[in-house]
Amino acid sequence: MIHRVLAPRTTVRAHCDLPCGVYDPEQARIEAESVYRIIEKYAANEDPTFRTRALVIKERQSDLVKHHLDVLWHDYFKPEHLAVVPNLHQLFWDANKQVSKVKASTSIDDAKKLLELIDEVDAAWKATGGNTKTRVAGRPG
């Protein structure tokens, strides 16, 4: 009772996060789709110049996938989210490892597996309310 009377009605933030607070696994997925497509194009073209270029692009977009996954992992997800998604750390470990695998490979199956893992991250983000809280006016449909 006394506790309730004393409780302040105003909250102040000892703010520690990126100020924008906008996160979406879609960012990682788009880069991973680039990787998927470029592997398809690599397989369909024998020209060595084209193939070299494809590998360079695959390398670059793969790094972007890692970056976007890391931002979600380090900045969006909080310790309390582990209650909702107990395998969170294992999931990000697997997804980032899969990016490394895709970098070293030209197999479409590896790229497909990466897309599936990003979809699992997306499910975790939705399960923790990310789709309503981290996009302006919710995630566009």
Binding site: A7, P8, T10, R13, A14, H15, C16, D17, P19, H74
Partner: protein, 172 residues
């Protein structure tokens, strides 16, 4: 900390209140606030309840904890005054001089400790720059919850930044 209440009120009045609502709006508070998030650890923790003096109209001395309205988000935030109007601040490899109404507000927690605790980087003047006095809401001075930590808020040593090789001050 040594100033008396009435003097602070007069000061707030004289400087044109330092807030959009003027002195009358300031008396409305907030007088008590709850702290969310962790950037002021170890001195102030999440869930602490603080008493605030909302009648201050000027930036208090360095080392004082203040409540202010964050630009952009508009949220109320709590940080510590690291630089006052006229101070030189080391920033991005150069020096920045605070204008007559600006303060440099920093967090207590260091980024490594925050990262280990699973938080993001502290967001303070290093992210959003100097804060003008019209965003100042009050001076936090006392913690009244939890019981075992009741008392005046610890003040950080008021060490000014050493004046760097910045450009000569402009006439003002």
């Amino acid at each position: 900390m040594t100033e008396t209440g009435p003097r602070r009120v007069r000061g707030a009045w004289r400087t044109g209140s330092g807030g959009p609502l003027g002195l009358r709006g300031r008396i409305g508070g907030p007088w008590r606030v709850a702290v969310a998030e962790a950037s002021m650890t170890p001195s102030i923790s999440e869930g602490d309840w603080l008493l605030v003096d909302p009648t201050v109209g000027r930036w208090p001395r360095r080392g004082t904890v203040v409540v202010f309205r964050e630009s952009g988000s508009g949220d109320l935030a709590v940080k510590r005054v690291a630089g006052r109007p006229g101070d030189w601040i080391p920033f991005a490899g150069a020096w920045l001089r605070l204008a007559d109404d600006e303060a440099w507000l920093l967090s207590d927690a260091d980024d490594t400790a925050l990262a280990e605790a699973g938080h993001g980087q502290a967001v303070d003047s290093r992210a959003y720059g100097p804060v003008t006095v019209d965003a100042l809401v009050g001076r936090a001075w006392f913690r009244y919850w939890p019981v075992r930590k009741i008392g005046r808020l610890p003040k950080a040593p008021a060490v000014p930044f050493e004046r760097g090789p910045g450009p000569a001050p402009t006439q003002d």
